[in-house]
């Protein structure tokens, strides 16, 4: 097996005794003190995540805006400098190459944050599909450390380390600023359903930034958090995870991300296929469900209808810590997707009862 890749914070995780796992080829902390404690810390106080494994790809040049808009399904021509926007990026069949965050520095400089496991695939895809445009595509992933400071105390914690009120940075905007003397791209964004910030710094400064944030948060009950809590937090807020709710063969419409697909705007890769999908009606959808029977639904478990016909697959499921229920997301036939439909989840040898319900297990607490 190839050696696992390490973020600039690997030494800090190992010294702190975090439990490490192989996450898509990266040696990453899955938990520090305990998944549920970390999850609660983010909901009630604050948590700090190392997400330096995420990829960063920059597009510069005079056609940058047009090129990015051709790549992604959302309409990034609506963005102004200092804004960020979430968008799926599709293939010609309408399947999802990746979902990403677009940062607009200016009209000729876009910074794309992409999933770690998709970095190589995405960069190749972006290079291939921006041929003919006056753009330079640079994979900057190794240069950047990325930290996510999440939770209701995030703004207070940050205010000790900056010389401006962090409240000035509105939801889904960013600035290049100094935090604890380190120059970072600071955005009000995250993947937990809570208020919070994401910070991008030079890789060699990531350890110092981590320590400064942990120290500033020590009186506010901050906990270092692993990828385990990151997944339960994003799941409760119904934020999709690539590889679960999205994939090369799952369209953003099927995933319920239609508001990030601007079919009326300019042409983009996959638009024709998505228009057709919309016109013909979706054949399958990501739905939420709540277990009424016993057991925990997990990624990959089969889903059946009342007549025992297999109708899909669980994409994510948990005994959700904040929600206090066992709930899941599943990709199933649209015919069984109505709220209140009785479905059954294949859990090992048994089939356990569940009801289709809203995906909004937890209401997001963004500061808009």
């Amino acid at each position: 097996m190839a050696e696992l890749k390490k973020t600039p914070l690997n030494g800090i995780h190992r010294e702190a005794g975090a439990r490490m796992i192989d996450f898509g080829g990266w040696d990453m902390p899955v938990q520090y003190s305990g998944l549920t404690d970390e999850h609660r810390a983010v909901r009630e106080r604050a948590g700090l995540f190392d997400v330096s494994h995420m990829g960063e790809c920059r597009l510069t040049g005079k056609d940058s805006e047009r090129a990015v808009n051709r790549l992604v399904t959302n309409d990034i021509s609506l963005m102004t400098d200092g804004q960020i926007m979430y968008s799926p990026m599709c293939n010609e069949q309408g399947g999802t190459v990746d979902d990403l965050i677009v940062y607009r520095l200016d009209r000729e400089n876009f910074f794309l944050v992409i999933n770690a496991s998709n970095t190589d695939k995405d960069v190749a895809w972006i290079r291939e599909h921006t041929k003919g445009y006056d753009v330079t595509v640079t994979d900057e992933s190794p240069q950047w450390g990325q930290l996510a400071l999440q939770g209701p105390e995030a703004q207070t914690i940050l205010s000790d380390l900056v010389d401006f009120p962090p409240g000035d940075i509105g939801f889904f905007t960013f600035r290049t600023v100094s935090v604890a003397g380190i120059e970072v791209i600071l955005s009000r964004s995250g993947y937990t359903g809570e208020d919070g910030f994401e910070l991008y710094c030079p890789a060699e400064k990531a350890a110092a930034l981590w320590k400064a944030l942990m120290e500033a948060g020590s009186g506010k009950g901050i906990l270092p958090c692993g990828l385990g809590a990151r997944d339960t937090l994003r799941f409760e807020a119904a934020l999709p995870l690539y590889g679960n709710e999205l994939g090369d063969d799952i369209s953003p419409l099927e995933a319920g991300l239609g508001i990030f697909v601007k079919l009326e705007g300019e042409d983009f890769i996959g638009r024709a296929a998505l228009l057709k999908q919309k016109d013909e009606g979706l054949k399958r959808k990501i739905v939420g469900f709540e277990m009424t029977g016993k057991g925990i639904p997990r990624h990959g478990y089969p889903v059946f209808d009342g007549q025992d016909k297999e109708i899909g697959v669980v994409t994510t499921g948990y005994a959700a810590p904040t929600v206090g229920k066992t709930v899941g997301l599943a990709l199933i036939d649209a015919g069984s997707a109505a709220l209140g439909t009785e479905i059954r989840i294949g859990i090992r040898a048994k089939k356990a009862e569940a009801l289709v319900c809203s995906k909004r297990f937890y209401s997001k607490k963004y500061k808009k």
Binding site: L35, G228, T232, K294, G295, I296, Y318, A319, T326, I347
Partner: protein, 128 residues
């Protein structure tokens, strides 16, 4: 790490309390700590028969499902129904939270279980 002297152990991190030909089985402090927050235990039916090393229960932590294996062949005579709605008891008190009681087919099979000292050594090796 809490490893009571009066119990026997398996390399699958179960504790076994022997009472004649009936054994009480749970998971060790080490196992509950490794699993993290336990949210559900899938219990077998009473009277079901299992071979040695066969999975008889599944313990679900927030993150993952883990099979629990029979230390010796036998028949389930009782399950701890209290765990159905309170699986977290295993985290709080792993040696007080038994999972099943099993009538063993052959008492000689119990000779292969580890003593507390042997199990402690086994755990220390695993942690290296």
């Amino acid at each position: 790490m809490n490893i009571p002297e009066d119990l026997k152990y398996t390399r699958e991190h179960e504790w076994v309390k022997i009472d004649g030909d009936v054994v009480t089985i749970g998971i060790t402090d080490f196992a509950q700590s490794e699993l993290g927050d336990i949210v559900y235990v899938e219990l077998p039916e009473t009277d079901s028969e299992f071979d040695g090393d066969e999975s008889f229960s599944t313990i679900e932590s927030v993150k993952a499902a883990s099979d629990i294996f029979m230390p010796v062949a036998g028949t389930v005579v009782e399950v701890n129904g209290d765990l159905e709605d309170n699986a977290a008891y295993i985290n709080e008190d792993p040696y007080g939270s038994w999972i099943v009681k099993v009538k063993v087919n052959n008492e000689d099979d119990l000779d292969g279980l580890l003593s507390a000292r042997e199990y402690r050594e086994f755990c220390e090796k695993e942690q290296d």
